[in-house]
Symmetry: C2
């Protein structure tokens, strides 16, 4: 595991950090006026962009060992909400950026992390702007499989920490459309569900087909 904040890195910047425990459903109490960097020690969270109280977009789902860059409030408000109980390490972005200049290797890893987040966000933009409901669900499931999936023979088991509403807010659909798409995938035997949160991906190739990925892959 190539953690951004390994023991030696933390020795230098640990004093800048603030440890937080946020219980499931709660908002991380972050500074709204300054960008913040949050290291998720344990748990799972969603970063939401809020345009109105009843209209929000999940900008990213994040899990243990992820680093989340939470923007300051601008035209819209950003909140980091815990999906399950979380342990967080919180840094003011500007302070951290300046402090880690004594350790360029850590800075480079921060850059890599930011680049990864940017790439995921761009994939999300493509999904939101140009994909159908069934493609969106397939993309979502495959992306979750890559991050928190557990191989189970030819299948992949997902234990999703987020609700159907969260999923919908993440891929720009309503809770009902998400539910209908799950039902279609079940009918076609691409997935099986168990309870509210467990999803078994039965046919990854077929899911990739539905995701609308490029045909001519390297």
């Amino acid at each position: 595991m190539n953690r951004v904040f390994d023991r030696s890195a933390l020795r230098g910047i640990g004093t800048l950090a603030q440890t937080m425990h946020v219980s499931a459903g709660g908002d991380a109490p972050l500074d709204r006026d300054n960008a913040t960097l949050v290291y998720i020690v344990a748990g799972a969270a969603k970063l939401i962009a809020r345009a109105a109280i009843d209209r929000e977009q999940v900008a990213a789902f994040n899990f243990a060992d992820d680093i989340v860059m939470v923007p300051a409030q601008g035209a819209h408000a950003y909140l980091l909400q815990a999906l399950v109980d979380c342990e967080l390490l919180v840094f003011p972005y500007a302070t951290l950026r300046d402090a880690v200049q004594v350790d360029p290797a850590v800075l480079a890893r921060l850059l890599d992390n930011c680049d990864n987040a940017l790439n995921r966000c761009r994939e999300k933009a493509l999904v939101l702007g140009r994909k159908t409901a069934s493609e969106r669900i397939a993309c979502f499931l495959l992306s979750m499989a890559a991050r928190i999936g557990v191989a189970s023979g030819a299948a992949v088991l997902l234990d999703l920490p987020m609700s159907r509403r969260d999923i919908g807010d993440g891929i720009g659909l309503t809770i009902e459309t998400v539910s209908r798409q799950f039902s279609l995938l079940r009918e076609d035997h691409l997935i099986a569900t168990q309870g509210r949160s467990k999803v078994l991906l039965l046919d990854l190739p077929a899911l990739k087909q539905r995701a609308g990925y490029l045909k001519n892959r390297a």
Copy 2:
């Protein structure tokens, strides 16, 4: 101007760079298998994510002095296309990241740049996922005003280098819907257009209203 690659920075990394000239409409011939960092010396470009030949999302519009991080090809292909004739400075991302560790200040500015791109991408995700057509157009115009707008009394003049199709591909609408929304804004005297590319924003407060920004701003 706080350029990322000022004279002293370029002295150290200039040898890594490749200069390119791309004429309007052309693709920058980048390495598809590795992430690339492009500094736009002059011109304007669009970064597109392609799901199919007839289905692409503009991930970002970029202008002179911008740094664009172009992902390697994954599930989808990314292309940097020139909107007008461009002069570019191209770096392999990984090589550059390692090389600039001798100059943490440059690394920190790269991180800031990446953070800005991430923030813009997240705003885009919110627009694509949760905004109506009229809100999207307003958001687009305001975002362009902030980047390439020229104050003209109380109004702001835009000389858009991209077509209606590009705009649509950027905010997830069809060319026809974009056109209809422009017509509505004209009827309501929020904008005036002149030729294909010039847009005069006549009423910024009203545009912000239509953009669906948060009411209770600090």
